[in-house]
Amino acid sequence: MRSLEREIFVPTLILAGVIAGALVFLGWGSLSQSRALERDAEAVRGALALAVAISDAEDDEVRWMSSLNAPPAAGHEARIAEADARIASLSREIDAFSLAPRVAEVWQQFVETRAAMRQIGGEVIAAAQLHDRDGMLVARERWNLMAERADRLLGNFTAFHLNRLDRTVAELQRRRGRALGFAAIAIVGALLLSIVFAVLLVRTVVRPIVAMANAARRIQATGEASPVTGADRLDELGVLAHAFNAMTERLTSANATLAKANESLGEADRRKNQFLAVLSHELRNPLAPVKNGIWILDRVPPGSDQARRAREVIGRQVDHLAHLVDDLLDVTRITRGKIQLQRRHLELNELVRRTIEDHRAAFEEAGITVHLEAAPTMVFVDGDPHRIAQVIGNLLQNAAKFTPDGGQVTVSVAVSPSTREGVLRVADSGSGMAPEVVARLFEPFMQADTTLDRSKGGLGLGLALVKGLVEQHGGSVEARSDGVGRGSEFTVRLPLDVGEPGERQRERGDGAGVRRRVLVIEDVVDAADTLRAMLELAGHEVAVAYDGASGLARTRELHPEFVLCDIGLPGMSGYEVARAVRADESLRDVHLVALTGYALPDDLQRAAEAGFERHLAKPASLEALESILGGPRATAPQTTHA
């Protein structure tokens, strides 16, 4: 992976280094050149100053030499000598200079010319002192010519240095121009480089960040995924873009899931509220006739017709209530996958026929004709006869519920050779269903009838139970309707059981008629006493204890074959009683059966862990009790319903 820091920092460092190096180089070069030029200029200034001073002295010398008479005036010669001495002194200063070869030659000629002048000047003065005016004039003409030559050579010397000064100035101007040019190029170059760098920075860093910021704003505003480009880059921004895209994808996915879950929760809440209302309605309805029946029983003589009818009403309504509670528990078990099937090799035609017969009264009462189309051959499936009957019963009840008086219900059993399934169809000529109802028909608490009077009754769990139970058997169920008022058809498919009937098929040992020694531990006295009465009527020997501690004591005392123990006992719970019994080796053969309103799967688990072998949900029917008292001991708690 490339590092963004390196991508930006390294070129910047190199660029800065190059610029700094170039500036140092230019600065150093310029400094050293400036020093050289300064030295040159200083030398030129000194040379020119001396040349000017010599020229002045020469002018004095010429003036005094020109005004020389024969004989010379007093002090005249001294003036000439003084000028000559001044020139000689100044010349010595120039001798100390380091002169360029050409100007050194000039200076040498000047010195030689000055020597010649001194000699000729001596001749001039000598002639003047000798009053030789002609000789003085001739000598002075030569001296003048020599002086002119010296002046021209000094002019060369001066011109050389002036020209050098000019060249220095020109060089300075050239360098100034070059420096200005460099500066301009440097400024323009730096500007261009800055622009290029800024553009690169904007393209490589700023734009991706701005894109991510915009994408973040869009996500904030809309909640929808907004991927950014650049995830394929090999630097940190690529990593950031990749992570950003992954994050937004996960975020939006999570949002969608949450929204869906929220919707589901809303729907579930709505259905829960609806269900609670329905449950309340359905539970209250049986209570009124029960209460009425009890009121009648309190006021009429026992055994009278009124008392008999009242008991029948109470019995029916209690059955109905128990049926509602069983449905609720079954749905919970199916949902949690905790239902236990008692499978066996059973014949579907016969089971259907018996179940229809069980429900025929309801159909006849409603004026509905039920027609069975049995399969021409026996149809064996591997199933729990009680549960399959429950499935068929629910479908029949459903058909009865939604088929008007005079309608028809057709139940057919067939075999699908291709899928090796037994096929059960329940078709009615009833009210039918809208497609949207069909789609959600098998969901728990789903009811087509949502009117306040709820003329059809029920909790809306029947078809959900059908679906759950069928699927527990490895089968499937589907509903079909051509529309409202055009009837419905439910099809159940169960895998055929083509093997030999084995152990599963054998009927369990029927305990009917066997007298058992039973201990009931129940803190609700009425419940305990009525249960003892029921069991005694069934021919068993029954003892009762009203709390856990006394129940345990009674167990040790009586050593019963079965202990029917409530869970929610005061002082010592049913679980503690069970654990105490199981801890007592002398009580190993005692069958422990939990009898409680705590009938959810977790309760079964806790009961098993405490040592209970079976589990009965309250209220337990006598049939359920007999099936336990007469059957073999289970290795794990099994729930049996009334």
Partner: protein, 320 residues
């Protein structure tokens, strides 16, 4: 194709040709050193040399457009410049105070400058010999009218002096040296430090305009020769010996000892040119013509090639 053709034929690959009129004297030997050392060839300059006896003749050829450049001493140059405003001095080639001199017959009593009065003196009129004679006669306080000046080319002057037809002659090397050699002990030589002789590289203004590149190469070639002379003097002398087969090495070395080769345009040269122009004005030869020395001395090429060789003060307003 055009681009390739343009690339394949570089302008520098073609040598430029330049006609130069020269004079046969060791004093102007810097030109011969340049030619013999390949300095011109290195500049891709092909020289068409017209070698003449006198600088005066070289100047004439230049003025007649027979040459692009010429080499001459300063006196003919001043004369020509007074007549022809196109003449330009590109650089001096040498300077000397002892090259041009008077060689007199001592046996005729000429032992001092004043003894020249009444003698016959041969020289090439219009040359610097004329100016030197005037100067020395002035120092000898001999009016020019009191000598007989015989106008002869140097070669004939030497012969006339040898035959005794002349008492004296004003000559420059190699003729002066030959005359001294012929007279031997009978020769009396006069010269003065107060005269500086210059040989000059000349051109015309129009040639400077049209042949500037070739003239630049010419000056660069001479600068190359100057460097060779400074660094390898003996080698330079050896290279020009073939130019003067009549001189043995010692004689050539002696003659060259009297001159100082070197490029330059300076105050001394400008002063000499002004002095000679004034002399011509005084003698009536100039006839009212004035010499613009600053214009005559075209410093541009030399300043470009050897800037330190230019030692010319800025012209004063109104100065000639």
């Amino acid at each position: 194709v055009v681009a390739l053709a343009a690339c394949s034929e570089r302008p520098e690959a073609r040598a430029e040709r330049l006609t130069v009129a020269t004079m046969r004297t060791p004093a102007t030997g810097l030109f011969f050193v340049a030619e013999a050392s390949g300095c011109f060839a290195a500049e891709r300059l092909e020289i068409d040399e017209r070698n003449l006896e006198l600088g005066r003749d070289a100047l004439s050829l230049l003025r007649e457009n027979g040459a692009d450049a010429a080499i001459s001493f300063e006196t003919p140059t001043v004369r020509a410049a007074l007549l022809d405003g196109r003449i330009r001095v590109l650089t001096a080639l040498h300077s000397s105070t002892r090259d041009t001199r008077i060689i007199a017959r001592r046996e005729r009593g000429i032992t001092g400058l004043s003894a020249l009065r009444g003698t016959s003196i041969g020289l090439a009129q219009g040359s610097n010999a004329d100016f030197v004679l005037d100067l020395l006669l002035r120092f000898g306080r001999v009016p020019r009218s009191q000598v007989l000046v015989v106008d002869l080319p140097p070669e004939q002057t030497v012969a006339a002096l040898e035959r005794g037809e002349l008492d004296a002659a004003v000559l420059a090397d190699p003729y002066a040296a030959r005359a001294e050699h012929i007279l031997g002990d009978r020769a009396q030589v006069f010269w003065t430090e107060l005269y500086t002789e210059f040989s000059l590289l000349l051109t015309r203004e129009d040639a400077l305009q049209t042949r500037a590149g070739a003239l630049r190469k010419l000056v660069r070639g001479l600068a190359c020769a100057e460097r060779i002379v400074r660094e390898h003097g003996d080698e330079a002398l050896r290279r020009i010996r073939t130019r003067f087969p009549e001189l043995d090495e010692q004689e050539l070395r002696a003659q060259l000892g009297r001159v100082k080769w070197g490029l330059g345009i300076d105050q001394v040269l400008a002063g000499v040119l002004r002095d000679e122009a004034e002399w011509l004005r005084v003698t009536g030869e100039a006839k009212g013509a004035t010499l613009d020395v600053q214009r005559l001395l075209d410093r541009r090429l030399l300043e470009e090639i050897e800037p330190e060789a230019v030692m010319l003060l800025p012209s004063r307003r109104g100065a000639p």
